[in-house]
């Protein structure tokens, strides 16, 4: 019986296959080593899935492709490694961002794919830290770039250290994948839309027993006396290999003295020690540049610049949704990725690049889903650039450090605006005339949070039966709309469920199944043979 059904579907499917369907643009042709592959073609939008068997043929084709995807899994087959991290980019964020991007392109959205959702290998990552069920970004990124778990708040020091206790971290410093790459003579880069001193980028190049020790003014005097160094200073004083080639992001005020004024806002820097680390960068490295706005950034000659520092805001960069409105102009994550690769690719020994979409997390904490989703789409754009520029000898991983308590609720009909109120289907399976409602007859949004600032709406009109605002009165699809939350908190929290990791390139099949977050270091280290290459390069 089941077999007969399948055969029937197969027969119809085959005839449909002859008529041809658009596809999702993951059929890019691999290039010869050292050369770029041909970019994949985007499928025609609005694929008609009302013909039930096109589901069958498209999925069948995807499986066929998967069965023929063969990466060289020899240790060291990856010349280059790019690690993309969406801070707080849980799986519900991926689903919602995928639908939003599709809907912004005029599609229904659900069958759309973010750039990295075309990668052939995916795993589920366990994110707990050595002392917390639900972690923050410091131990999670430490796990990804050092290969061991550590405690919350610690940046690339082992969990033998005690938070905020300087001496407890001495001798506990962990070697990172970026340090190994530098030792191996590779080029290295870090990019973030957060401050470069923020936990995720910091874990690649710095050791700190407190993620908040970003400038010397953030540290207790005793810690400085005891020999601990702030994170910004560690970026400039970095001593492995020939130094970091590219560092682009925010956090300008952590690199400049409290006696100098910011070029964009006029506010003072945060350093008490008088060091201007931006000037130290250009004096430390030859063929180097420091830029702080988009025009300067685009004017950099990437064919001759060996060390590029870009700090585009005193603190975090703008949310992607606000970037166009920035006073001095900021590059996008995709632009930063693209031009970084131009510099890094000049090294025949290969490169290690870490790219963080650091503000997905912040928008979620504020309970503002739209900004989190637009920053996720910006990460997808950056990954697309990397796919096209990096070449087939590059292992690309895309993952998150942890999730958020962000949900996709109800039974919205196909193509229902992802930021909108839930409109379900009627008895005929067609979109209903009105919105779905709660027990008190009030509509609700598809997207929401389990906790955070979106509980209640201050003094605005509220339904007294369920203490919910009347969402008929709001533009819930506005970029500024704050989704509802169940538990009232000033800031929405991280979540403890697994995140995804997507992989392509040599070593990608090492990513599969349910894996520990710290195993991602070992995937990268094996694929690019980082430890042996680093050892071999030592005098």
């Amino acid at each position: 019986m089941e077999f007969k059904k399948l055969a029937l579907a197969l027969a119809i499917g085959l005839s449909l296959a002859l008529s041809g369907c658009g596809d999702d643009g993951d059929d890019g042709v691999a290039g010869t080593p050292g050369q770029n592959g041909t970019p994949g073609q985007d499928g025609a939008p609005g694929r008609d899935y009302t013909e039930v068997n096109s589901w069958y043929t498209s999925a069948s084709a995807a499986v066929s492709r998967a069965s023929t995807t063969n990466f060289n899994e020899t240790a060291g087959a990856a010349k280059n490694v790019i690690l993309f991290v969406g801070d707080g980019m849980g799986i519900s964020t991926l689903t919602a961002a995928r639908i939003l991007e599709g809907q912004l392109a005029g599609e229904m959205g659900e069958d759309h794919r973010l750039s990295f959702e075309t990668f052939p290998h995916v795993g589920l990552v366990k994110t707990y830290s050595s002392n917390q069920q639900t972690p923050d970004s410091a131990p999670t990124m430490t796990a990804m770039v050092t290969g061991v778990k550590t405690k919350d708040g610690l940046v690339s020091v082992s969990d033998a250290a005690v938070r905020s206790n300087c001496t407890s971290g001495q001798g506990q410093e962990l070697v990172t994948s970026l340090m190994l790459a530098e030792m191996a003579g590779m080029s290295t880069g870090i990019i973030s839309t957060a401050r470069l001193t923020h936990a995720t980028p910091a874990a690649t190049y710095a050791h700190s027993v407190n993620r908040d020790w970003e400038a010397d003014s953030n540290m207790p005097a005793q810690a400085i006396t005891d020999g601990c160094k702030d994170i910004a200073a560690q970026l400039i004083d970095f001593s492995y290999g020939d130094g970091i080639e590219v560092a682009l992001g925010g956090g300008r005020s952590y690199f400049t003295p409290n006696t100098t004024q910011d070029p964009e806002y006029g506010s003072n820097g945060r350093r008490r020690d008088g060091r201007d680390l931006t000037a130290e960068w250009t004096s430390k490295y030859s063929n180097s540049a420091y830029v702080w706005n988009r025009d300067q950034f685009l004017a950099v000659d990437t064919s001759t610049t060996d060390h590029l520092l870009g700090l585009f805001e005193p603190s975090h960069l703008q949310y992607e949704a606000d970037r166009a409105d920035d006073t001095a102009g900021e590059p996008s994550l995709a632009e930063m990725t693209s031009r970084s690769l131009d510099i890094l690719k000049r090294n025949d020994n290969g490169y290690f690049l870490m790219v963080e979409a650091g503000r997905i997390d912040h928008a979620h904490h504020a309970g503002n889903a739209a900004r989190a989703l637009h920053d996720t789409i910006a990460l997808s754009d950056a990954v697309r650039v990397a796919i096209e520029k990096a070449g087939p000898d590059t292992l690309i991983l895309v993952t998150a450090d942890h999730s958020h308590v962000f949900t996709i609720a109800g039974y919205p009909t196909r193509g229902n605006p992802i930021l909108g109120l839930v409109r379900g289907n009627n008895a005929d399976g067609k979109p209903a005339a009105g919105y779905d409602t709660d027990a008190n007859g009030m509509p609700y949004t598809t997207l929401g949070y389990a906790n955070g600032p979106g509980f209640g709406f201050g003094s605005d009109p509220m339904n007294q039966d369920d203490q919910r605002p009347d969402l008929n009165l709001y533009d819930v699809t506005s970029i500024d709309f704050r989704q509802e939350a169940t538990v009232p908190m000033g800031s929405e929290t991280h979540a403890g469920e697994d995140v995804a990791v997507f992989a392509t390139g040599p070593g990608a099949s090492l990513v599969s199944g349910s894996i520990e977050q710290h195993a991602l270091f070992h995937v990268m280290a094996r694929a690019a043979n980082l430890v042996a290459r680093a050892e071999a390069a030592q005098p």
Binding site: H316, D325, T327, G458, D460
Partner: protein, 243 residues
Amino acid sequence: MLRSLLTATSLLLALPAAASFCPDQPATGSWGLSYQLDNNGQRSGTLEILRHGSDTALYNPDRQIGEWWVLADSKRPRFHRLFGEQQRRIDYTTGDLRALGVNVNIDSIESFAMAPLLSHLKAGDAVADCPAARHYSGEINGSHYEVNWHSALKLPLLLETRKAGQVRRWQANALINEPTVNQRFGQWLDFQPTDFADIGDMETDPFLAKLITQGFIEHAHPTAYNSDGTVISSEGDHAGHGH
């Protein structure tokens, strides 16, 4: 209850003539007004509004808490929340304010939300003893307003609202001089700053942890009135809706 209402009513009736405090327009860009707040005739607190160039701050000297608006770029306002007891400051960028859905109305911020409401009130005579101020009164969304408005300072010298037997009164009683204002702003610059965007990741900081769990952040609207023009705070902490 009845007694306090009667007291309030008699104060109200005496209003247009009661203008003993009548400041001149300050010659400097740094000045402030101090208000005594009364709730049904009972003193409920003190509130200062401080002007420093294009910046405006509301400060409660008793509780040492404040809200500081940086408005030099009117399209890109920034905001600081001040906690004097802990010497801490929370900094909000324009993007943070947008993500929180805070609509910034500079006229409102600079006038206790009163300037946009004046056109809904009936203009009366100049205030006795203070010709620079004019009396306004009327109903807005069920609240009765009595206002002595100083047109040069663009601030009320007296603001009284009545709704459902509740009488709230803000009486300006002192001009704050330039050195005091400068000292306040200078002191706030030295507070330990935290970006609002970072608070969610700083749950191990006891001060911030309290803010994360108890919340204060979303109610960043500085006005004492909600969108209906109703007084929603007379304590000086200005909780407001954030849309």
